[in-house]
Subunit: 204 residues, 2 copies
């Protein structure tokens, strides 16, 4: 059922805006708007303003292109972080995922995408120039390529490897193998096969 | 997985606001906010303002308590509508559902809820006084009780019937029976039993 005959243009506008979000249908949009309508005025104003402020005031870190409230993000401005190790990721979600592991003490470089001819994204659309400049500056020891293990990720990895190899900086990538919690019978053959070939000494 | 360590307070605020909506988890909220972030500034401002304006500028019809852009809603101000027939509904969603059928030419009265002791909603929380006043004015011929066919709906129907019976206005309710498209074997016994008792002459 589509939501028909809105009794109010304001209501219709708000529903249309919510329905324009990915994964939100018109029925859900209507339900969300009706929910907001039942809330207090300050709460709803805060909701709307949080969205407007985010878009208008957000900055991107000058160093790593991560999202940030300041010119330099909290990672890049942290003196405890190892600035000679740069982890190259596709997007800010990946930064958050890696930060969540609490295993990484270096800094990041957010490409802002991945080479994908199908989507018309080439190297020129990504923050690759500034990465090469960093590697050429001589202040880096290691670049970790932490892109998705997809065709596009592999393509981008290879492109970056070619562009960075002349700098002499060590280039590494994430370990591939069996995920934690995987049941052996459900693992794809490629992963399982490579995990066997690259098996590591058992330790307790 | 919960979304951790936001690189930006603005981002975190926006995600929290979306996650406060019913049925939107933190992962979905984050995805929606990231989507908004990729949109143009005017679009995002329009999104935020549609919500703020809805809450701050919306009005409720003085006659029927339906949501409206003006003092009197589009139904109540329509000269083609039969003002002596009032359809009593729980909420504005119900007005929209009935309007969608294009079968109703009377006006509405939105109670703004339903008597529900479990949720602490009594008759005093609903727009019942103004309904009785309308019925007592002598200008009504019929009141249609179109509430949900639930325990609470039946309770409210009964309460309204008691309160309106002295006015002499005809009180009707929606026909109950087998839904369009129902397969007989899946219909609950109560509905099927009543449909048999209240069977109607066959017509083509």
């Amino acid at each position: 059922m589509n939501v028909p005959a809105f009794p109010s243009k304001l209501l219709e506008n708000a529903v249309n805006e919510f329905a324009s979000l990915p994964g939100i249908g018109r029925k859900t949009a209507f339900r969300l708007v009706m929910h907001l309508l039942r809330r207090g005025e300050p709460e709803v104003t805060r909701f709307g303003e949080s969205v407007i402020r985010l878009r208008n005031e957000i900055k991107y870190c000058r160093e790593c292109h991560n999202i940030s409230d300041n010119e330099i993000c909290s990672v890049c401005s942290d003196p405890a972080r190892e600035r000679s190790i740069v982890c190259v990721v596709e997007d800010i979600q990946d930064v958050m995922a890696i930060e969540n592991t609490r295993q990484y003490k270096g800094v990041y470089h957010v490409l802002g995408g991945i080479i994908s001819p199908v989507d018309g994204i080439g190297p020129g659309d990504l923050k690759i120039g500034s990465l090469i400049a960093k590697a050429e500056s001589g202040r880096l020891n290691e670049v970790i390529l932490a892109l998705s293990t997809t065709m596009e990720g592999d393509t981008t990895n290879f492109y970056l490897y070619k562009k960075l190899s002349h700098t002499g900086v060590e280039i590494t990538t994430l370990a591939r193998g069996v995920s934690h919690g995987d049941e052996l019978e459900y693992i794809d053959e490629l992963t399982l096969g490579r995990s066997l070939i690259n098996r590591t000494p058992f330790s307790v």
